[in-house]
Subunit: 128 residues, 10 copies
């Protein structure tokens, strides 16, 4: 049986995401950002979800500014959105903001009904 799910949120403010010029753009290197304090709402029940967001990326011309990333994540605090959507949305927004060579978003969610979920989405400029 296929259940219908409408997109949970119309837009997030990507412009919140600030970037700065990569200080070592001549060399590929990897940046990992761990944000273990993430919360949003379940679009079905309105109950809070708690998880963590991990970003790994190889910058091209721009690096993500961390404080603005924190504010960006806070936008989801009181929005109802499914795990799969959040993960892909964050990847879309961050790729748009800093055009990295590579980016991987992992979200890990605390158990609901005895079941935990982790989701990983990857973007690679080569494949564009």
């Amino acid at each position: 049986m296929t259940v219908k799910r409408k997109p949970a949120i119309k837009k997030t403010e990507v412009r919140l995401l600030e970037v700065f010029a990569n200080p070592s753009s001549n060399r590929d290197y990897e940046i990992e950002i761990e944000a273990p304090e993430f919360t949003s709402l379940c679009p079905k029940t309105g109950q809070p979800d708690f998880g963590e967001v991990v970003v790994v990326y190889i910058p091209d011309k721009k690096c993500m500014e961390l404080k603005s990333f924190k504010y960006y994540l806070q936008q989801f605090r009181n929005k109802g959105i499914f795990y799969e959507e959040i993960t892909n949305r964050i990847l879309d927004d961050m790729v748009k903001a800093c055009s990295p060579k590579f980016m991987e978003i992992t979200t890990r969610w605390r158990p609901r009904g005895g079941i935990s979920t982790n989701i990983t989405a990857v973007y690679s400029k080569d494949e564009d």
Copy 2:
């Protein structure tokens, strides 16, 4: 010596497994579902077995709905079934329900007679 083992259960209700449309079907991404609260019965002794089920999959058109997956797993609570059968059965049922690009089922069982067992079965659409 080869011992005979009859198939333990005739059918599980696959229709219990609900799905919803993959919100990001344009991109491959990975979903991991951990269900550490699993129990069934040993078909030989009738004694309870306890284990955990971990699913990792790449959705194609459909994603698994988690609550229905919880109910699906509860079907095994009072059924006698061997470890090897459960693992492959869950893989068969879930592949049938959501036609993923890739799916891996791992079951990990608490020790019996001082011996623990873990089983991993994999499905890949490419190899179909």
Copy 3:
């Protein structure tokens, strides 16, 4: 607001609990039994609960036979019963079966709605 809760189960078969004569009754000593494979049903929702039961006791004349304790715990598998009741019920039944000098039952439950519960009840012959 006070919610009404009716006693969940009428009786458990205490006679399932076998004992044997304490081989060192001249000396106080402590026995700890850990049963991490426990499951029952939530009386409200009918959904399975999973937890572990830990017994610590000082035997007097009798020791608990472990296999019968395993069968005793399996009685709860398909019964609806609240955490607080189970814990006190197991303590009552085991005290009745082996009349220990001291007994402590701890139950630890997997999270529901993001919240975990542990319950500890104690019996001491001195206080009788």
Copy 4:
């Protein structure tokens, strides 16, 4: 130098906290409730705080109903309140709701400025 801090929130809805009759009120026993998914706002900066709340209590006539406790904690999600106030407020509200023989609230907060804080407040009926 002493900084002034005004009480952060006027009232919480204690009536949200439901209770049920203690099924074993003839015996003292201990209940531990762990709620690792707690969030509120810093009253100074408006930024989210994340922590966990642990309750240990010995019920008298009434036990806390867990689902209502979950809703009670969600009230703080978008309120600005200091760590010290939250801890004592939860203790006050829960003592009022279930009149326990003993209750201990511990809150543990994720690091801010490289510094973590844990707070523990205790109520005992004997000392009333």
Copy 5:
């Protein structure tokens, strides 16, 4: 129901346990000996049991010689004996061999039927 259990083994060779004069008998101090490689047989099923033995004692005039303790423990390798008996037997034998001021024996056993057992017996010269 009370099950009969006959004493599993008639005698162990306590004389195997060698001692040496306490080099600091003017001062109470504590010695902890951990022997994680212990095995015996279940007297009911003949199947091997595996566990660990921990001794904590305050020597009086004599200290236990460790190599002889190792040989002493090996005596149980192919004997059928219950957990409760082993624990008290080791305590009896070692107290007889070195007359300590205090001695505590803990045995911890690997799970059988999903259930683990730990046993602790204590001897104190003061209480003799």
Copy 6:
């Protein structure tokens, strides 16, 4: 200098190892069996060795029956045999019993003289 070592044991009873028909022979899947309760004797000193045996295999037509594997391992309890021999012997015997597509045996041994040893041997049908 090369020390001579005679083969420690002439034969093990492979026929103890029972198998059953692979319930999912149409699909490759992996089975891991952990046996942490293993003991044998050192052929030089006669002293007990303690270790754990881990088997990972991909079944072809037959699966290993776990209880018979437990009995098979118990054969080594009072035999003197070197680590290297045990590991390869178990691999030989199990390959003979169930003709797997792939099998890996790992043995891990507790420290002797401050030194620990782990041994891993692999069989692959493709390379036959």
Copy 7:
């Protein structure tokens, strides 16, 4: 042999430590502050020391303001001071700032020359 050690630092700016009125002064409760990012200099060698500072206290009329505590600890960054002095100095300064009912300072230092040191000093108003 007794080595002379001159007091390493003349004064720290205690006035940096801000406090606020205890919001629940009618009840004793405990606050634990963990500051794992502490560094100072060894007065002998000028080399950096790294450690963590843990404060546990029961407030009386005043609570410590955390941000000012962070700045207070940063004063030691480029000062040469021995472990024993730092620990007692922080205790003195904080007791002076907030007059707690009880306060315990623990400092834990990373190894130097293969040796680690932890120091704990306690203040209690009752003993004043």
Copy 8:
């Protein structure tokens, strides 16, 4: 939005980094150096940052002398510099000092605003 960031520090004294002749230059081997006691300043706020630096390299003709590496890292103690710059700067300086066949620098930073960062940069002589 792209924020401007000026290079934080003009130069570090690379000559501080001493090397010695690789004693086994005929064979490729890997050296890992873990420096968990690193601190610098945030160029925006002036507040201290704490992290750890891990170097993995394959020496060519020269090996890094560890004491000089310690002094080299101490240069950053009171300098304002961003995470991305430090990581690439250390890699540049060390490659310049010892011309390794391969070198990887990882920096891991304690959380700020609830977010942690790890950065990894790699140099390979082959790609020069």
Copy 9:
């Protein structure tokens, strides 16, 4: 059977242990020193023993200087001495050197013949 053991070493150079004046002798506080890099020889076999030494003490007028403690411990590197003797010897020597109010020495030894040993000796000025 009682085995004779002659004292293993005649004297250690206590004068190696340097002290300095307690900078806070007006207040009792506790110092813990962990030395995980300790080695001596077994007096029976001449084989090396490896362990760790932990000192906890409350200084009176004098504190232990850490570097001299490191040199003091190195004296045992090539001496044959039993575990029980070392522990009490270190306690005697350190009490003599710094006359503490309280001192506890714990030694923890790596396994020999599958058996580990920990020894704890305590000195208290009050009991003198």
Copy 10:
């Protein structure tokens, strides 16, 4: 700046390393030997170094005899030798003794000056 380092030790007695005929030379398998009790001296300061040595190898015709390996490692106890030299020396000596198909030596050293070092060297017969 390049510092000169003279080879620290002229020779180690490789003949100490005993071997025995590989009992399963028809099959490649892997042996891992962990020796966590290693100590040598720093050639600069004469101070003891502590570390662990891990050997992983695939035997060809010969296997390493473990007791002789223990004695071989003890040769370094009172010799001054740098980390890089020890690692490569052990690899050279063991390859010479048992001519393996593959061998990897890892040494892991306790922190000095807040910095830890691990070194890994590999030999492969194919590359000879």
